[in-house]
Amino acid sequence: MASAIATTPSARPALAPTPRANRDPAWARGLLTAVALAFLACFLVLPIVAVFAQALAKGGAYFLAAVREPDALAAIRLTLLTVAIVVPANVVFGVAAAWAISKFKFTGKSLLTTLIDLPFAVSPVISGLVYVLVFGAQGWFGPWLIAHNVRVIFAVPGIVLATTFVTFPFVARELIPLMQAQGTDEEYSAVTLGANGWQTFWRVTLPNIRWGLFYGVILCNARAMGEFGAVSVVSGHIRGETNTMPLHVEILYNEYNIAGAFAVASLLALLALATLVVKSAIEWRQTGSA
């Protein structure tokens, strides 16, 4: 599954000119384009426009008040704290996994790659559930945790763990095909010239993979900030303490504070759009220089 979705920059080259024999008749071109654009407009553009329209429905002052409210600020802080822990941890994992898989031969490589893709197939709610089963009050470590007064579930550590589960493949999936495509020649040359492991990595591998790494970090970050299902299970929904931004959006929406919910949601939507912009910028850069 590592290469299933062509989000890697090098995989989507620009439009190629079509030879005349292969051109569809003009009416078909027009019809298909119209159908595609209508489908995308209905399913993609409308929702994102709706988010911003509803957020500003009661005016800019209401928007700012909703975003500056203490519970909202606490949610923003918790989301940022989670991301600050989860993304670097997953980067280290991604780099380690990509190094092991792309530079060495060993049996079980495809099993490992499949295991890395596991979170994509598992429902986020189940991802949260399994942590409750391990760390919850009735879980494996429950009694030990209670005895030592450590709270994992319904507290920040649980949120961090669940978010880590859901987002760890992103960096690895970007780096593995990239590093496999780059091969091992440069690293071998570095080692024969006397570099040790860290020098080889920092000065030879890292510059080669930096755009893929950046790409993976952006995707991981976007997913980590927006994770809802898994965090919903482990968090306990305690306002001001264990609510991330998506959970706060849910609370506001369920209280019929629609404009407030959309105000916080629009921050997340802005993050999504920024992610898309950065993604596209990297891709256009790659195709421009490719």
Partner: protein, 300 residues
């Protein structure tokens, strides 16, 4: 004097053996000269084990302790079966719609040029990037009876929000990029020669598309469908707002799991989750096989 070639009987240490000797010995052994294998693989396996395998095994072990009778009772009760029907059914339908429209979108993006093509291409990834809760409330507000879209459908008696249709719409949204992004690279790499040959041999455009192109696209189409289906099956955030969550009618399986957890019915929740996990693993296996099939013909 120090022996530069280290021809002594002493076993060569790293850093003192000249490169040619090291490569010769490593060509025969299975270890590469690149350092860091143990560290990187060890860390990877430890991370995977702790974060993924141990928690997942907790679900299976808990169910194993349940006994077959209790397990079947937990999994086959009417409410649970209704939830399975909704989740699987809506995911299949959304997957099919995405397969058809995703193919059209990929075709249009790869083969036609129109103003804003690059922008549209970038926008296709929106469901990947947008948090599910945001998508959920946006779709609900659009399709409820006084929403921008809902108000046009209401006079015809078509209700989308809080019905099966709403679930279907939400799942179509989140599955949209999967088919487009799996088909696009394959379409991109198709050689024009084959189509030209077909047209010189007398095929019209439709025949060429149906008999030459679609079979080549089939593996990637199916892969995209399976990916969209797998994602839709477990989707929670986008669906839980628009579905209305009425038991037996619009309750999706992930929500049912959460409801059981809130009632402290851990065993029931885990039993349902294990069924979903098994389907996820089967899907993952299927997707891997489909990709192997794809790779036999294409470079992805």
């Amino acid at each position: 004097m120090h022996d530069p070639m280290n021809l002594s009987a002493q076993r060569p240490r790293r850093g003192t053996t000249p490169p040619s000797f090291r490569t010769m010995s490593s060509a025969r052994s299975s270890r590469s000269i690149l350092p860091g294998f143990g560290l990187s693989l060890g860390f990877t396996l430890a991370y995977l084990g702790l974060i993924v395998l141990v928690p997942l095994s907790a679900a299976f072990l808990k169910t194993a302790g349940m006994g077959l009778h209790d397990f079947v009772a937990a999994v086959a009760s009417p409410r649970v079966v209704a939830a399975y029907k909704l989740s699987f059914g809506a995911s299949l339908a959304a997957g099919f719609v995405n397969m058809v429209f995703g193919l059209v979108v990929a075709w249009v993006l790869v083969r036609y040029s129109f103003p804003g093509r690059k922008l549209v291409d970038a926008l296709v990834d929106l469901p990947f990037a947008l948090p599910t809760a945001v998508a959920g409330i946006a779709l609900t507000s659009l399709y409820s009876t006084n929403g921008w879209v809902g108000r046009w459908l209401a006079p015809y008696g078509i209700r989308v929000a809080f019905t099966w249709t709403g679930v279907f719409v939400a799942l179509t949204f989140i599955g949209l990029p999967f088919v487009v992004r799996t088909v696009q690279p394959v379409l991109q790499e198709l050689e024009p020669d084959i189509e030209e040959a077909a047209s010189t041999l007398g095929a019209n455009r439709l025949q060429t598309i149906v008999r030459i192109l679609l079979p080549q696209l089939l593996p990637s189409l199916l892969t995209g469908f399976a990916l969209a289906f797998a994602r839709a099956l477990g989707e929670y955030g986008s669906v839980v707002f628009i579905s209305g969550n009425m038991p037996m009618k619009t309750e999706i399986v992930p929500l049912l799991i959460i409801t059981k957890l809130e009632q402290y019915d851990y065993r029931g929740a885990t039993a349902i989750a294990v069924v979903m996990l098994v389907s996820s693993f089967v899907l993952l296996l299927l997707i891997n096989l489909l990709q192997k099939w794809s790779r036999r013909y294409h470079a992805i």
